[in-house]
């Protein structure tokens, strides 16, 4: 929707879920995974998680922190927070438009 936002192909949805998880604060991989699974009810495999994390890090949307006992936390960068906000506003506008068309505007 936003031409400036990086396109992650099949990892778009996992990437968005990771960014939302990190918007609550820095987390390591396992904490991200379990939080996403709890929030969405969908499993997230370690392979998918790290494929998305690598892309997000490469794009500068997240950054790694110093590891604690081999577990490395990641945090959202300023660019990442801005892009996440744009993505969520775009999705919200799209959802509201769809719901209006169904006669059920968002409260």
């Amino acid at each position: 929707m936003d031409p400036k936002a990086p396109e992650f192909g099949r990892f778009t949805e996992p990437s968005l879920l990771i960014l939302v998880s990190l918007s609550r604060g820095p987390k390591h991989g396992y904490a991200i995974m379990t939080e996403i699974e709890t929030d969405t009810g969908r499993p997230m495999g370690a392979g998918t998680l790290y494929a998305a994390l690598a892309r997000l890090e490469e794009s500068g949307l997240i950054e790694p922190l110093a590891p604690i006992d081999r577990r490395r936390p990641y945090r959202l960068t300023g660019v990442g927070a801005t892009m996440l906000g744009e993505q969520l506003r775009g999705l919200s506008a799209f959802a509201q438009q769809g719901l209006r068309q169904l006669g059920e505007p968002l409260s």
Binding site: P6, E7, F8, G9, R10, F11, P14, H28, G29, Y30, M33, T40, G41, R42, P43, G45, A46, G47, T48, L49, Y50, A51, L53, A54, R55, E58, S59, P67, D69, R70, R71, R72, A95, G98, L99, L102, G103, E104
Partner: protein, 258 residues
């Protein structure tokens, strides 16, 4: 197992993410879903390293998801139903090759469904889920050999009194038994659909004795009702679980039409 899986990733990737990735994998038991997801992730990492999709703007990769498992479960349910109907002889011998192709599709889609839908169950019932996948994997290989042999040699004895048909029926039973184990783990984990897993379990565990008994003494009215009930339970159970998985993947906002 974990070390072995990490070795699928390229050395450059392991140098950067290897330690934290291994620490992550140590957090909980690995199921077939996790193993498949890690292998797909490793393929993706190797493709990215070779410049295919290296740019974040063109990246394409693989993900193991409930959606893939859900679609496979629906295909498996339909294909198994057709296979059972075909095995009754209603469709006639003229379509035998098509029936074999449908059975091969049924076996392969069942494997994908078992792997794709077993993520949550494997965390509580790891051994049961591994058995639920391993049995059909072995069964699929044996049954495919049986199918090829039946196509080429009809029902000739292959070795030690074992015929091509024997191989086929062994593969079928292994897949059905694996489905039954999967149904038990799914029911106990309260994931996907409890009615769907109950139906699949009922169909699986009714199919096995019914096939054996009708194979020994032939069909009678009770046997026919039992086998049809088992087939319907097995096929519909898989389809219900597949639909439940796809519905789980639907967007969180789920508006009701006015």
């Amino acid at each position: 197992m974990r070390q072995f899986l990490i070795r699928f990733y390229p050395a450059v990737w392991r140098a950067r993410y290897g330690d934290e990735f291994e620490a992550l994998l140590e957090e909980r038991p690995l199921g077939p879903f996790d193993v498949a997801d890690i292998i797909l992730g490793a393929i993706d990492a190797r493709l990215r390293l070779r410049g295919r999709g290296a740019s974040p703007t063109t990246a394409r990769g693989f993900t193991m998801s409930l959606r893939i498992g859900g679609i496979a479960a629906i295909v498996a349910g339909a294909a198994w139903g057709l296979t059972f109907v075909g095995s009754t002889g209603i469709l006639g011998d003229s379509d035998r090759l098509i029936q074999y192709a449908v059975f091969a599709l049924a076996l392969l889609s069942l494997l994908v469904a078992l792997i794709g839908l077993s993520a949550f169950q494997a965390r509580e019932h790891s051994t049961v889920i591994w058995a639920a996948v391993a049995l059909p994997v072995v069964g699929t290989v044996v049954a495919l050999v049986g199918l090829v042999a039946m196509t080429l040699l009809d029902d000739a004895q292959l070795v030690a009194g074992v015929s091509a048909w024997n191989l086929w029926i062994f593969g079928l039973m292994a897949a059905v038994f694996g489905s039954g184990l999967f149904a038990i783990a799914t029911y106990q984990t309260r994931t996907l659909s409890r009615p769907g897993s109950a139906l699949l379990g009922f169909g699986s565990f009714l199919t096995l004795p019914t096939l054996v008994i009708t194979g020994e003494i032939g069909f009678d009215a009770v046997g026919a009702v039992a086998i049809v009930t088992a087939i319907v339970g097995f096929s519909v159970g898989w389809i219900v679980l597949g639909v439940a998985a796809i519905r789980t993947m639907a967007p969180a906002v789920d508006p009701q039409p006015a």
